[in-house]
């Protein structure tokens, strides 16, 4: 394969090309600026046809740090190129660098919109979209035209359809064009179509007569005629579909794709003690972890066994451990906790004074502990021992993870855990488990939060495009008003008992990753008439969302969010971008049947857990969270 590519030379390159849309494996490169190349075999020696491909390469080699473990990926045709592009960078660099390649023979359609070019391979999903930042892309298109048999689509002159040059269709098409004397631009044919769109009734009679002439003039009902006929019919019916009539003004209206009907997912009873106990083997190992998680997802955990179950859910106890292993683990972990606690406890006053980073954290923890859940009996009153524990666990966490330290919001995450578990070392390790799940929320640069709020908007836009559009036109597309929801997983919005139920449901990782964002979508959708009906602007939306605190029906929201998940999963127009966020298997351009890869299908199927995992979460290796986590790790070392 490499051999085959070494004969290529670049016959065109243009820089300042931004990658706007691409297969999911290129998501880290979205909005990166790069160079577009056209590569071609040097000569046609007659033994094989000339081969050409397009390549887009990001400019900045440092961007690959996020994806250095990923392999090269090629759209449609996976091939490695041994030829280096320029200079003498170490070979390592090329292994890290990603480039997006498209073989010329795979390009079936190219759509141009302003400075954007979108490439299609025949399926409805684009291969990629490139934005030509420095001026227009006419030269590039002209070049494409010389190498590919491109003709503008009859429906839209900005869409270029690639025909196989040898095919009878193309030759027939050329003939037809010649016979009708239709030029791609500004011909009477295009003007006619333009008129139909702009003045449907005035133009349509005249247009139809021409169309019928055009259609019926074809001598033979060959493929191209069917194609043309289809295109025309589609074009006309689209015009019909899209026009709303209102007093002589015609407005083009785009119908968003419909989601499948939403199903109800009523919440179930919490996991009972008998169900839980029955799952343990004689050596204290859990037998069917998946069905336990399923039950927890469906109804939470009975308060009676909650303490033990949380230790599993928060990765303190490994799911596959025996009782003896857990007992040994606890002894070691308790010791480790007290060792770390001793470290900060034994600081002298002088040490503290010379260690401002530490002193600052200590001071902020003290302040925040004094204002965490003080309305609850557990933390009420002065000199409450539980406040001391809250303080000590957070201080020990500072020693455990000094790079992160203490960030506001962490005391909210610890409070319910400590309230349930009480025992300081155990609560600490459960808190560590929770922090590991949410650590990107506390990035220094807040990248994890920005990613999540961005993902929230993307999901909302897919589920409720009207509301998303409304927010966008009211300067709310940044979703800042959901910051508190996402940062501490609705801790400030729910009563403590509901928080516990909500978190244990989310900790199962079912039915998909980032399920908390779907809960946020469900709430926003629930409030949509309030937000849009009152014509709320940015400040009113913020105020309204803030005031939802303690007025949310958690069960209803979980029910709706699960319904939304299945709507998304079963949507025909589901994109890889959405799949990526919720952790569904990505389809790319090869796989067309997503359904066979998804196992998490219905509540019934959930309960009857057997051989394969019911959740596809584990199948996608990189979540947005993990990417930003990597980022935060790296920035810590810089």
């Amino acid at each position: 394969m490499d051999e085959e590519f070494k004969d290529y030379i670049d016959i065109f390159s243009q820089d300042g090309v931004l990658l706007k849309q691409a297969p999911s494996s290129f998501i880290p490169f979205i909005n990166a600026i790069g160079t577009i190349y056209i590569w071609s075999t040097e000569t046609n020696d007659g033994t094989r046809p000339i081969k050409r491909f397009l390549e887009w390469k990001p400019n900045d080699v440092t961007i690959d740090s996020d994806v250095q473990d990923q392999e090269w990926a090629v759209v449609n045709t996976v091939q490695k190129r041994s030829r280096t592009l320029s200079g003498n960078l170490p070979a390592d660099h090329y292994n890290k660098l990603r480039s997006l390649k498209i073989n010329f023979e795979d390009i079936k359609r190219v759509a141009k919109k302003n400075r954007d070019l979108t490439f299609f391979d025949g399926s409805s999903e684009p291969m990629c979209t490139l934005l030509f930042q420095h001026g227009d892309c006419f030269y590039f298109i002209d070049l494409l035209k010389t190498y590919l048999s491109v003709g503008p689509s009859r429906r839209d002159k900005n869409i270029f359809i690639v025909y196989d040059a040898d095919s009878p269709e193309y030759q027939e098409l050329n003939k037809t064009f010649a016979a009708l004397d239709i030029k791609p631009n500004d011909s009477s044919f295009w003007t006619m179509f333009k008129n139909i769109k702009e003045h449907p009734y005035e133009s349509s009679l005249m247009a139809f007569s021409k169309v019928s002439t055009y259609v019926y003039r074809s001598v033979e009902p060959g493929n191209n005629d069917i194609l043309l006929n289809d295109d025309l019919q589609r074009s006309l019916s689209e015009i019909d579909d899209n026009i709303t009539h209102s007093g002589g003004d015609y407005e083009l209206v785009q119908k968003p794709p419909q989601l499948p009907k939403r199903k109800e997912f009523p919440r179930c009873k919490p996991l009972r003690e008998e169900q839980w106990k029955a799952q343990f083997t004689c050596d204290g190992k859990l037998e069917d972890v998946e069905s336990i998680k399923t039950l927890i997802f469906r109804g939470g955990v009975s308060p009676k066994i909650r303490e033990e179950v949380w230790k599993f859910l928060l990765d303190y106890y490994p799911w596959d451990s025996t009782l003896a292993e857990r007992e040994a683990l606890v002894i070691a972990k308790v010791q480790e906790y007290y060792d770390m606690k001793l470290q900060w406890k034994s600081f002298t006053k002088a040490q503290e004074n010379n260690f401002s980073d530490f002193a600052q954290r200590k001071s902020l923890i003290e302040k925040d502990v004094n204002r965490t859940d003080r309305n609850l009996d557990f933390y009420a009153g002065d000199n409450n021992q539980n406040l001391q524990k809250l303080n000590d666990i957070l201080m020990t966490y500072v020693m455990y993870n000094f790079d992160l330290g203490y960030v506001q919001g962490m005391s909210d995450l610890l409070s319910p855990i400590l309230m349930l578990i009480g025992n300081e070392p155990d609560a600490f390790w459960c808190f560590v488990g929770f922090m590991n799940k949410l650590i990107s929320n506390f990035d220094i640069d807040q990248a994890g939060m920005k990613d999540q709020l961005g993902n929230l908007f993307t999901l909302l836009n897919f589920v409720d495009p009207f509301l998303a559009k409304y927010l966008e036109t009211h300067d709310c597309a940044n979703m800042f008003f959901c910051f508190r929801w996402v940062l501490v997983w609705f801790k400030r919005e729910l009563k403590q008992e509901d928080v516990m139920r909500f978190w244990e449901v989310l900790w199962t990782g079912y039915p998909c990753q980032n399920f908390h964002l779907l809960v946020a979508v469900a709430i926003l959708e629930h409030e949509r008439s309030e937000l849009m009906g009152n014509d709320y602007g940015f400040t009113e939306i913020l105020k309204h969302i803030n005031e939802l605190s303690c007025h949310l029906d958690m069960d209803l929201m979980l029910n709706k969010a699960e319904g939304i998940f299945f709507q998304i999963k079963e949507a025909d127009h589901l994109t890889d971008q959405i799949r990526f966020i919720v952790g569904l298997p990505l389809i790319g351009n090869h796989c067309t049947d997503s359904h066979e890869l998804i196992h998490f299908d219905s509540p019934d199927c959930l309960v009857s857990s057997e051989s394969h995992p019911k959740c596809s979460v584990d199948r996608v290796s990189i979540s947005p969270d993990e990417i930003s986590f990597d980022k935060s790790i790296q920035s810590n070392f810089l």
Binding site: S363, L364, V407, I444, D445, F480, R484, L487, R492, E540
Partner: protein, 217 residues
């Protein structure tokens, strides 16, 4: 806001380190309540409150933000369009006083003020209720810092015992009014016009000139 009245709306941003009492000042002013153990703010919150000054009612839209450095990217977008900025510290916390400089810079940078617009800062030293021996910042220090930074309004408050809280917000609005009237006058001023507002301090005053006759007493 859904403005049922046509009162002038003033956007007030309260800034300062975590735990100096920003939310408590807001809650005391707006609803005359105080909860020592109220939650620390996550994200951004705001409340509205009407305030009468010289027969004119102003609606104050008071913005309260999370004080930790880490949440800077979240709070700074809210600085735009502010009319008043309250720089807040706690008198029993020297560090929070030292950090006023950082808050002033952060606000100035992100508030996107129009040229020649003097920033209506008010410095607030909260927790004046703490016992004398716990005080870490004297009133003189506050006034000196204000002089050095060309800030003409400062006040010590206690959200806990409601001391000076109403006064602080009133002072902020009065300060804003003075700047507004001066801005108006500057626009129409001719060379022979005497600017009476100058006695309140000059926005082009050089750093070595004191001008703190406004400071609280």
């Amino acid at each position: 806001m859904r403005s049922t009245t046509k009162n002038p709306l003033l956007k007030v941003v309260i800034l300062g380190d975590g735990g100096v009492g920003k939310s408590c000042l807001m809650n005391r002013f707006v609803s005359n309540q105080f909860d020592e153990h109220s939650f620390h703010t996550i994200g951004v919150e705001f409340l509205n409150k009407d305030l009468d000054i010289d027969g004119q009612t102003y609606t104050l839209q008071i913005w309260d933000t999370a004080g930790q450095e880490r949440f800077k990217t979240l709070r700074t977008p809210f600085y735009r369009g502010s009319d008043i900025c309250m720089l807040t510290y706690a008198i029993d916390d020297k560090t929070s006083f030292k950090n006023l400089e950082l808050w002033r810079k952060e606000f100035t940078y992100y508030a996107d003020l129009k040229e020649n617009n003097q920033i209506p800062f008010l410095v607030v030293g909260n927790k004046s209720d703490v016992p004398r021996e716990e005080r870490e910042v004297s009133q003189l220090e506050m006034e000196t810092w204000c002089n050095e930074n060309g800030i003409t309004s400062c006040i010590e408050t206690s959200a806990k015992n409601a001391s000076n809280v109403q006064e602080a917000f009133k002072m902020a609005v009065q300060h804003w009014l003075r700047l507004e009237s001066r801005a108006d006058k500057n626009e129409t001023a001719t060379n022979d016009t005497v600017d009476l507002s100058k006695k309140y301090g000059d926005n082009r005053m050089s750093c070595c000139v004191g001008g703190s006759e406004e400071s609280s007493n």
